[in-house]
Subunit: 436 residues, 2 copies
Amino acid sequence: MEPVKIGIIGLGTVGCGTVEVLARNADEIARRAGRGIHTKIVAVRDLGKPRGCDVAKLELTSDPFAVVDHPDIQIVVELMGGNDLARELVLKSISNGKHVVTANKSLIAEHGNQIFAEAQAQGVTVAFEAAVGGGISIIKVIREGLAGNRIEWLAGIVNGTANYVLTGMRDQGRDFQTMLREAQRLGYAEADPAFDIDGVDAAHKLTILAAIAFGIPLQFDKVYTEGISELTREDILYADELGYRVKHLALAIRTSDGIELRVHPCLVPNTRLIANVEGVMNALVVKGDAVGETLHYGAGAGAEPTASAVVADLVDVVRVLTSDPNNRVPHLAFQPGALADLPILPMADVKTAYYLRMNALNRAGVLAEITRILGDLEISIEAVLQKRSREGESTVPVIMLTQPTLERYMDQALQQIESLPAIAGKVMRIRVEGLQ
Amino acid sequence: MEPVKIGIIGLGTVGCGTVEVLARNADEIARRAGRGIHTKIVAVRDLGKPRGCDVAKLELTSDPFAVVDHPDIQIVVELMGGNDLARELVLKSISNGKHVVTANKSLIAEHGNQIFAEAQAQGVTVAFEAAVGGGISIIKVIREGLAGNRIEWLAGIVNGTANYVLTGMRDQGRDFQTMLREAQRLGYAEADPAFDIDGVDAAHKLTILAAIAFGIPLQFDKVYTEGISELTREDILYADELGYRVKHLALAIRTSDGIELRVHPCLVPNTRLIANVEGVMNALVVKGDAVGETLHYGAGAGAEPTASAVVADLVDVVRVLTSDPNNRVPHLAFQPGALADLPILPMADVKTAYYLRMNALNRAGVLAEITRILGDLEISIEAVLQKRSREGESTVPVIMLTQPTLERYMDQALQQIESLPAIAGKVMRIRVEGLQ
C-alpha cells in the first residue's frame, strides 16, 4: 500500500523527536500499520535556525498554511504549541478534510469543544494522546481500555516539573526556589515556569482527562487550581513523619452532587504506588466500577516519550482512514450527542481531610482553643504533631491531620484560628487524599 | 442504531461478571459505542446449577453450538476456558463469520496462530484483552499505544496467586504451603494450582505479550518456566536484607542474538515500583526505545476486572464491524505477513546476575574455595552475606550476589560448588533482574 503522507507544523523538541522516531522505526511502524508514514513537508518558524534533528531529507517551509493546504497531505501533525495560530491551523486542516494529530494540551483543553465539533462535521479525526502523560497511553486506556466502566475518579501526577521539584525538596532537603532553578537548568520547566508551578499545565490535562472519563464537555475554566510555590521543606518533612508524601495531584472525582475538578498539593499515604512516583515521571490512577484501580506510569514529557504518543496517534489515524466516521472512537470517548451535563462542584462543597501547620505561641491553652474551634465546626482531629520550639523562637509549630470535612467549614475554621492572638501568621493547609 | 447482538459461552466467574457489567453500565457503554450491546443467548454446561448473577432475563442453552451457529449473533464471547472444545467453538464462530471475544489465555497462547490465520481469512476479529492482566489494558497499550516504539523488553507480575503467596511469605513470614492454602481458601488459585505456582499461567501470558511486543509468532513451547514452590522464607528475608524483593516475573527481552522468554522467581531492587506490587495485583513494565519505561498496574483477575477487558473488547469490535478488515489493528500487533523470525534463546545463553544461598560447613577456607570456582569462570561477586550458624547446626548459610554471567557458566559453577565436601546439599539460585 502507498505510504500515508503527513505534514508537521513545528520542529522543536517534540517535532524533532517525532521526525527521529518515524525515521528510526519506519520498518516496525510499517509492519504494524500495514503501510509507511512519509513526512512530506515540515513548517518551521525560522528556516535558518539550527535543529536538534537531521533535516537533510525533509522539505521545510516557513509557511504553516503550506502544510495545512497541501493537496497531498492526509494528516497534519500540529506540534507548534500555543493557542491562537495553532487553533487557526487546526481548524483550517479540518475544513480541508485532513485528519489532525496534536500534542497541544492547552489548545484541546481550551478550544477542544469547537475543534471536535468541526471535526465531527467534516468526518475527520483529531487525535491528542500526546497532550497528556507523554507516551503513557492514558487517553487510549480511559477512552477505549476502560470503555466498560463507569469511571468513579482519577488522580494523577501529570506535570513532571512540579513532581521533580517536590521530589528534590524531600530527598535532598532543598527549598522550592533552588529546585525550580535546577529544573529550569535541566530544561524540564516550560518556557513560562508558572504553567508548571502554578498548576495551569496540570489543569489543562485534567480538563481533558475528566471529559473523556465522565463524558462531559471540556471545562477548563471550572478547574480549581493551586500551585506548589507555597510548600516548604518543613511541610514535606512533617508529612513524611506522619507517613505521607506531598504530591501535586490533578483530581477528577464523581460525587452524587457533581464532579470535583481540582489541582493542588496533596498528602498521599506513602504506601500508595503513586506516592512513590519520583522525579519527572508521571502517573495516573483511574478507578472504574468494574476494573477497580489501575495505575499507568511513565515519562510524561520529553522529545521521544511525547513522540511515542504522536506516532501511536498517527498509526491509529492511518487505520481509521477508510472507516465509517460514525464508528470511530469518539473524540471525547462518548458520542458527541451523549455528553452529560453534570455540574462541576465549587471548592466550598468539596470534602477532604486536611494537614494543617500553624505557629502557636509557646503557652498553655493554645491547643485547647484550636480544638474548640474545630470541634464547634464538627471537624475531627486524626493526629497532632507538636514540635519543640527552636532556639530563640517564641512560637512552636503545631501540625494536625483532620478527618474529612467540607472545604467551607475548614475555611471558617482557619479564619477563626488565624484570628486567635496565640497564632502567628497564616495557617498552612494541604489537602489529604487517601484515594479511596 | 440497532443494538449489537452477542452470545456468551460460559457463565462462571468471568461470564457472570460480564453479564453484570453489561447490564449495570448499559447506558454508559451505549453512550460510548453509539449503540447498545444486547446479550441474546448464553450457553452453560449445567442449566440447573445456581449462578452468581441474575439470569432471569437471559436465554440460556446447554448447547454451545446453538450460540456459535445462531443467525442473529454478530459476536461470540468465549468465557468457558480450556483448550479443545473452546478451540472448536472459536473456529466454528470464525467460519460462521462471527467476531470473537475471549479471555482464554491458554487457548490464545497455544492455538492463537491457527485461530488468527482463520480469522484473517474470514475477515473477522478475535479480541483477547482479557487474556492478560485483567482490565489493565496491556494488550491495547502494547499493540496500539506503543505502536511507534521498538519494544526492548517487558517484565511483568502476571499471576496474582503467585504474587499473593510471595507477598504473604515476606510480610507475614509464613511459609509457601500455608500461603498457598490461604490463596486457595480465598478463591484466588486456579482449579489446578500448579498453573499459578509452576508458572504455566504466566508463561501463557508471556507468550502473548512477547508476540505483540516483538512481532513474532506465538511460541508457548519455547518459554523457560520455573515456579515458586522452591522458595523459602529465608531467601525472601535475605533478599530483603540485600535491598531486594523476590517476585515471580515473566520476562521477554530482545537481545542482539534473539529473544529471551522466561518465567521464574527474581530478585528485584526494592526501589523499583514493580517490586512494590503486592498481593493479587498485576503489573507490567514495558521498555520502548522512544517512550522509555512505562508501568501498567491493576487487578489481573477476578470477575469484574476481567469483565472490564471483555466489554472493552466488545466495544472495540462493535466499532470495527463496518471497517475494512485490512485496516484493523492486527491480532498480533504486526501485519500477519510481517512477523519476524527471531530465534528464542535457550536459557544457557541468557545472561543474568544471581542470588546464591548455600549451606557451608562452619570452617576456614570454604569461602575461598567457592570464590575460586566463581573466579575461574569469570563470575564476579557483588555482595556476600555470611550468617552465623544456628544453635546445634554444623553448617552456616552463605548468601552471594553475583554480577551478570551466562547461565551456562553459572550451571558449571554450581555443579562444582555442590561437589565441594564443605557444601551441604543443593545451592539455591535465584536470578536477579535490575530491569535496566
